[in-house]
Each structure stands twice: as structure tokens, then as C-alpha cells.
Symmetry: D2
Subunit: 261 residues, 4 copies
């Protein structure tokens, strides 16, 4: 199953890089390019999608050909079409992995998958961040030391309004006094979701080798390896034939109109 | 805190009872009436809401005055307005409890809170159901025996497409050969959510004393008792003043447009 | 159910206070006394147990009369008798709550309940600690602000070798650069367990009103409110009479010796 | 990392097969042999361990050379030495996977890892069992249909006294009316644990290809792929050098005896 390369699509709204020279200097090929180049070098089959492409580059064909979708967005969440969000959600429930980075916490797709507001508090003051590994069992933390240190970071602080993670992987310490659950995983339907906090358009976070390694680990982890036969993913089939005999109790059922799912 | 009565609003789409005589005979005051009468007798302050009321009876004023919302719907999920769903979600994240019954698994509000399709498989064949208590720690199972038995039930079968429950309380055995996770709880934001499977408009399930007791236990459990001071519930405040001194590293930040949450 | 006072037994190994004058000055009535006096004032029925009492004060009679047991130990974990640990574990599985404080992470009873080593890293340098509320839903965090600040604390750092908590309530930030999961809850059998990090014999942590309030909230939360009818807690009954008819398939079973549980 | 074969040690107490001809006819090479032969054919490097071998075949050398340990026991749990249990627990916390089968629920090692009694109820009546896949995301359920059906099985019924599983994979339906959480996973320290219910010495369950496939999937899943750098697994190092400067507050610490872990 793992013999073929894992197909990753990197979505970036790609707004800051086109408007702001400082950001462009940090990410001349866009944030998506910085991430994608690392992944290509690590054996992934990489494709890009940006907000201004038709259907944001996330057509049915692209999604069907994607094992893991990485999402970076910040100022243009509201410009993402609801139809595309519906389609991405459906594809996740059917087995595509999703990795949400940094300010993607407020993206439509992340809030859709979580069911919560995904709020937090923040500060932009170039402060030191240290991401502590709190789960040594998980493959996403493989190959790291006890923590990752970033010299300058935007702060994200608790309370982070998310469902209790299935597993908590990283907790951040910030110079200014806050903490944050910076690496969290959930499964939804057949799909796997990884939220990873680091990143900001004004810091070279996506050039840090530990951060890139975690993203690559995340892609390996998020690739589908489950069961394709279960019912219940977006369908509600009527199983009229029971597996076991049901006693005839002589009950006449009311004729009820049924909903169409 | 628990000295004042718990305020419960019972929402019922109230369609079957008005269209179908068999259902009306079972529930002459509506499904909401059957549930509400039990809860009133158990000390709750009960209010009703139905689909055909203005704003489905779920105005800002009603929600602000509601500790726990019970939801029953089946054929008219699509008629519930998105604006009301937004409002209910917001109120849950801020501390209102939600109890979703039976076919409410496909309601807009439940799918919104879960982030999944909430699909399952089903059969209507008046079969025996036995709900086994698998969590003896939880207050929702207090006062019950080892299981609840229902002589006739619509079957709901796995795979039920929900997030892994925070705690699993009941598993159903069905005469026809299936199983189902029939009692599940989650917390989201400041709110608590309980999904409870039993019920169908064509069976007298909401006259069963054990089922009603579980619903009442669920209301007691779902009432808010948490923390009101945390940020992050639907807001993303900028905390410009750090708690600790941050070293001035001489970095000039790019001027970036920020998103409005 | 909650009308009668919650009965709390505070266990303290009570070694430091008898040997060290500095500690005695901080806790003239022992750490157990400081905690117990607050709880008494908050309506709890309090009893004490110390290492040097017969059976460490934790006889069958005392445990049977205890709703919640608080555990503080540090240098004398190895002196606690295994028979008492067995007894306490059994009582927890049958519904007694357990609150483990600070250095109790290495106590026999906590390691028994967790199944892990409960290791961590630490430093004693009178550093500032800030405990952030990360779960606004839980009754243990009720009445607090966004965080609790302690001016001087022993540091405990990750990785903390515990099972993934059922719910994570507090994360600590430390002046020296570490983080820690400082408030965690689990349920085991019919019992509830709360680990709460703060405290050290050389700091006046158990005179801090927020810390004491959390301990009191913990006692209220940990009191049993579940189901007493389930089997499976320490027993494996043979249910020879099935609830449903089983087809006779003519199989002759081998006569096998069965284990005695 | 996965290029080398996964090294599996199959422990079987190996008592029934030597005492009882009916069992021997079903498992002429022992239950361990039936499982091991399938695993060998699936590319695993298999080794065996039995109760009557020195140190039950579970020496330090064997454990150091084991990625995943499978455990089958029934009538001789009490004959397993506590020293071996200590050693196996330590190896699990440091990254070895553990798969516990059927009556192994009462083994010392499983109860040690869980912290609970692991009780349940049971019946031996050759009844039909159907194991439903409730988690389509997990690699342990890969390649299966919607359920596995066993024509004759010993019944295990709820309430099963275990910690809430990290993920629930299978729920069993039994002909006689009970249900059971038959496939559960947890992580502890760096290790992964999978409990899988099916099996009994008097039924040919370990010749069923779906059951064997699940065990093989379990081994693949349980193999270590995490982080080796974290502290906290069985150790409590004193980190005297802080990562950040700590303000000197002029506090003189009491000289306290420290515990030896």
C-alpha cells in the first residue's frame, strides 16, 4: 500500500506573498512552494492549489487524486467557496487526510470539521516559542528531540476552542507567558486531521527543518490505511434483510413518510 | 448553583403527529409533550419549540433562557433555517447543553456540531433492542439496571459516522443482528452534547420510564457548570500586553492585513 | 444525592513536616491540615490519614466511609504497604474518587491506576508558574480566571508518562522554559481520578485560595454519581441463562478447567 | 524503518493443549503455533514463548529483540512471575507493542497496563458472534468487510472494566443477547496496546482467516514508530539548567530529602 508515493496537495491562499515584499522575500515561491519543495525532496508527489485558481484548484479530479491536503490560509478564509468546502469535507470523510497549519485554525474547512469556533488569543511580538513533545508514541513526533525551538513566532494562546484531541502531540511555551496545544490529531469518518500551529507569513518558520519534518511525518500519518467496506459515511442505507430472524409480533406499522438524507 | 430549576427547551419538528393518526394516538400531546411532561414532574422548568413557530421557537430570548435543549426531528431537517442553526451552535459553544434524540442524528445542528455525516444504517421491523450500560461511572447511567430492554424498535446499525465519543455510555443489541453506539457524549466549547438513540414516532418509546429517566439524567448532566472566564469561544482577542517581558530582538515586522474573525 | 456532605479523607505521608522546621513553619498542621481546614470550611466532612497510623489510616472502615481520597506523598512512597494499595484500588474501582497532588505522581496508587511510570522531569528553583485553563467546560475549572499564577514553584516538565487524559484541564507555563499537563482527569471502573500538579512542601501553595478552590471543585466532581448495577468490576460472573434463545448446534464441548479469577 | 521484518513473540501459557485432547486436535501446534504460522506466512519474524520455559521465554534478550508481543493465557495467569510482568511492562513503556487475546483480559500484564480489574461476564454455549467494524479509519480494520462472523464462540459481555479505549474498533453482537467491546486500542508510554476478544481453546477461532488478518494488522500497527528522545519514561531527571533565565528571588530553600524513583 505504501509503495506508491503519497500524493499531497498544498493549498495556500497565496495573498500575502503577492501583496507584501517582506513576505515575498521570505517565501519567493509562496508558502506552498517552500513546503512543497521539502516534501518533493522527501519522496512525496506534490501538487499546488491557490485561492485564485478555478475552484481554488480543488476540483473533484484533484481531490480524488489527493491522499493528503495541506491547508494554509489567513486573510481570505471568507473568499473560499462553500461548495469547495462541502467537497473537501466529503473527501475527508471518505479517507483523505487534512493538515491544517497555523492561521488555518479559522478556515472554513477546519471549523466545519471541528464543529467549534476554533478561537484562541494571539500576539505578534517576535517572541521565542518552544514546542514540547508530549506524546512519544506518535509517528508524527518521530525523529525529533524533546522540543523544537523557534526564535521568533507569533503567539497563539489558550483557551483554544477545539474538541478534545484524540491525541495531543505538542504543547508550546511562549516567551510572553502563554501556552498552546500546538499539535493535535483527530479522526473523522475515514479521514485523519492534524492541526500544527507553527508558521506565519512574516517569519521563516517553513524553512525550519524540524517544522518541515513534522509536516512530512504528518502527511505519512494522515494517508488512508483503513476500511473501505463500512456503511455510514454520508449514507443511511435501509437494511431490509436482517442477519438474524426477527420474531413476527403482529405489529402493523403506521405508514410514515421517510426523510431523504 | 443547582438550587434553581434546570431550564429545558424541548424542540420537536412536530410533523408526524399532525399528519398521521397512529402517531397521534401514541403521542397525543406530541413527542415533545410526552418528554416534557416527564421532565416537569422531575423538577425541570420546561418549554416547547416546534418547527412551525416563528424562528422555530428558538429565538435569542428563548435560547438565553435555556440550560439544555432537547432535539427531535425526522422528516423536516431541511426545513430548519440555517440562521437558527448558527444561533443554536453559538449558544452551545457558550454553555447550553444539547440532547439529540434518535433520528435527530441527521439534523443540521447535530451534523454541525460533529463535523461528520452522522450516517448509519437502519431497518424498521419492530425488533427487540437491548441497551447495555458500558460506563458505570457516568451520571447519565445512574439508577438503571445493567440494560434497558425495548420490545419493538427501529434498528440503527454501525458504522455510525461520528467522532469518537468522549465517553461511550450505551451499546445496543438488536434482534436482527446489529449493534449500535446508542449513548454517546462529547463536549464542545463550554457546552455538553448527549446523543441518545431510542425513539421513533411509531413506538411508545418516550413512555418508557427508563428511557425518560435517561433523558432526565442527561439534562442534569448537560447543564453548564464550567468556567466563564476563558477566551477563545468564538473570539480571537489580540493580547498585546505580554505577561512576561519579551526580549526586543530588533525585528521590523511586515505590515500585514489581518483577518476579521 | 448531594444533600449529605461529601466525605473526604486527606492522606499525607506527613514526613517533611516532622523533620524539617522550614516545612513545619509553612504547614504547622501538616499539608493535610491546610487542605482539610479549607475543605471543612467549604462544607466537606473531612478525615485525615497519615503513613504512621495503623494501616496508614486507610482501613476498610475508613475507605467505606470515604467519597473522595486526596493523596499527598513524596519521600515515603515505598513505605506504603501493598495491601493498602490493593484495597484503595479496589475501592476506587467501586466508586471512590481519587485526587493525587504534586509529588503523588510517583505514589504506588497513582502508578497502579495509570499503568505507566508517571515519570517527568523537574527542577527546584523557585520559578514562576502559570496554570492555564484549557477546558472551560469542566466543573473543576469553575470560578477561576483564565489562569492561576504561582510566584514560586518547583518545576515539573514534559514528557509526563501518563495515559492520554480523558480531559485535560490545565497546562502549566514555567519561567525556566518548560510546560506541563498540570490538571488531568480519568475514570477507572466506577471511580474518578484527578491529578493536580501544584504543591511542594517548601512553598505555601496549599494556602493559595485558587489552588484550594480547585481541590474542592475536584472533590465535588470526583464524588460517585454513576451506576451500581453493572457487573464486571472485579468479578467475572458466568451468565449461564441467555437472554435470547441459542440454537443448539449439537456441539460437545471439551471439558476445560476454568480459571478462578 | 519498516524495511526490516517486524519481530513478533507469541506467548501462550500452553496448558490446555497439553492436557486436553479436544483442544490438541484443534491446535496440534498449540494456539501459539496456529497464530505464528499465519504471521510467518505474512512476512513477520516469529518467535514463541510459553509458561514452562525459563522465565516463561521472556528474558531481557528476547524482549529486546521483540517489536510486538502477543499474549494468550487462561488458566495459569497466577503462575506468571511478577518479575517477568515488571520486565514486560517496562519494555512496553519503552516502545514494544502488546496484543492481548481473549482470556488474556485477566492476565497480570493486561491488568497492570490498564489499572482496572478487566472484569466482564461470560457464557460458554457455542453461540454465534458477529464483530462489527465501528472504526473505518483504523489500519487494524483494513481489508475486512463490515463485520466478521464466528459460528460458535464463548460469549463475553459488558460491562467490561477497562479504561475508555483511545479508539474502539469492534463491537460484538452475541446470539444470546449480549454485546461487547471486542477490539480496543490504547497507548501507554511509547508502546501501543491492542485487546482483541475472539478466541477460545475449544473453538477453531485462530484458524479463521479474518481473525488472523486482524492479528497481523494489529502487529503492523503496534510496531514502534514514535519518538525516542523524550524523558519521563520510567525516569525523573533533575533538569538543573533552565532553558530560560530564572529571576533570583532570594529564596533559601529548605534542605529536603528527595525520593529515589
Amino acid at each position: 500500500m505504501d509503495a506508491t508515493p503519497c500524493r499531497v496537495t498544498v493549498y495556500n491562499e497565496f495573498v500575502h506573498e503577492q501583496k507584501n515584499e517582506d513576505v515575498r522575500r521570505l517565501y519567493p515561491d509562496g508558502i506552498h512552494g517552500a513546503i512543497g519543495q521539502y516534501l518533493s525532496g522527501d519522496g512525496f508527489a506534490v501538487r499546488y492549489a491557490t485561492l485564485d485558481m478555478p475552484e481554488h484548484g480543488l476540483t473533484d479530479e484533484v481531490l480524488a487524486d489527493t491522499d493528503v491536503l495541506i491547508w494554509w490560509g489567513h486573510v481570505a478564509h471568507h473568499k473560499v467557496s462553500d461548495a469547495v468546502v462541502d467537497r473537501v469535507q466529503s473527501r475527508i470523510l471518505n479517507g483523505m487526510g487534512l493538515i491544517v497549519l497555523h492561521s488555518g485554525h479559522l478556515s472554513k474547512i477546519f471549523r466545519r470539521m471541528m464543529g467549534t469556533s476554533c478561537g484562541l488569543c494571539w500576539r505578534e511580538a517576535a517572541e521565542r516559542e518552544r514546542l514540547w513533545v508530549v506524546n512519544p508514541n506518535h509517528e508524527i513526533t518521530a525523529g525529533l528531540g524533546r522540543y523544537i525551538e523557534l526564535p521568533n513566532a507569533e503567539m497563539y494562546g489558550e483557551q483554544f476552542d477545539i474538541p478534545e484531541p484524540d491525541e495531543l502531540l505538542f504543547i508550546s511555551w511562549f516567551e510572553g507567558g502563554e501556552v498552546f496545544r500546538s499539535g493535535c490529531v483527530w479522526h473523522r469518518g475515514r479521514g485523519r486531521i492534524f492541526y500544527f500551529r507553527p508558521g506565519h507569513e512574516t517569519y521563516p518558520v517553513y524553512h525550519n527543518q524540524d517544522i518541515l519534518r513534522v509536516i512530512a511525518n504528518g502527511c505519512r500519518w494522515a494517508r488512508f490505511r483503513g476500511n473501505t467496506q463500512t456503511f455510514g459515511i454520508e449514507v443511511c442505507p435501509n437494511i431490509t434483510e436482517p442477519l438474524e430472524p426477527i420474531e413476527d409480533k403482529g405489529i402493523v406499522f403506521a405508514q410514515i413518510d421517510h426523510p431523504t438524507a
